[in-house]
Amino acid sequence: MTLQVLYFAWLRERIGLGRELVETNATTIADLVEELRAREDRYAAAFADMTTVRAALDQELVPLETPLGSAREVAFFPPMTGG
């Protein structure tokens, strides 16, 4: 399937782009991370420490083990620091 994948804050900076279309057969967000990591060093660097990475599926904050299901948008970002 084709997913819109978004990156924010230092994940965006390390990967070097804010969004991209990804063709994947991953079943969970964590699987997708593995696929991205295997692609290029910049992804491996961005996803080096997953304790500092959060994910949203179709704009809803979810755990990394969440199945992708029929989602169209996955986002990766560090813990939020608003307010």
């Binding site: 924010f8 965006r12 986002a75 620091t81 608003g82």
Partner: protein, 155 residues
């Protein structure tokens, strides 16, 4: 659950706290309005500006969901949440929340709840830009911990 729509604004522009509070005061049964305003502090090594990034679309959804949780939990007559993004200089306002209620405790608690959830659950990220470079602000464990105090009283 509520008879009002929360006012959620995500913007690059500054806001007028007085006008926002006054709008919430309207209505015959509002006795108490609490506001919180967050502002860019200067940091030790001389902050040039704070850069605030957000996730358009998800931001508005997350803020609306947090406001609806507050409205379901306390007897409120109004909620306003405004958060800015982009480059903000020291002294600039970053964001505000405001709550209106008959009861002062409800207004205080709901405003505090909104702040705690906004800090850790709304997709904003802050970067401090100084003469020495730029650093993303780390999330504080204490911000995540602050959510715990709202979980024992149920929603």
């Amino acid at each position: 659950m509520t008879d009002f729509a929360p006012r959620i604004v995500v913007t690059q522009d500054d806001f007028d706290l007085g006008a926002e509070a006054e709008a919430l005061e309207a209505g015959p049964d509002t006795g108490a309005v609490v506001t919180f305003t967050g502002r860019v502090r200067n940091v030790a090594d001389g902050l040039h500006h704070m850069e605030i990034e957000h996730y358009p679309g998800m931001t508005e959804r997350a803020l609306t969901e947090i406001a609806e949780q507050a409205a379901a939990r306390w007897p409120l007559s109004g909620i306003t949440v405004i958060h800015r993004y982009g480059a903000l200089r020291p002294g600039a306002r970053i964001m505000m929340v405001a709550t209106a209620s008959r009861h002062r405790d409800a207004a205080f608690e709901a405003a505090s709840f909104l702040m705690d959830y906004l800090k850790s659950r709304a997709p904003f990220w802050k970067k401090e830009v100084t003469g020495a470079g730029a650093d993303w602000v780390d999330a504080k464990d204490s911000d995540e911990d602050a959510l715990a105090r709202w979980s024992d009283t149920g929603t």
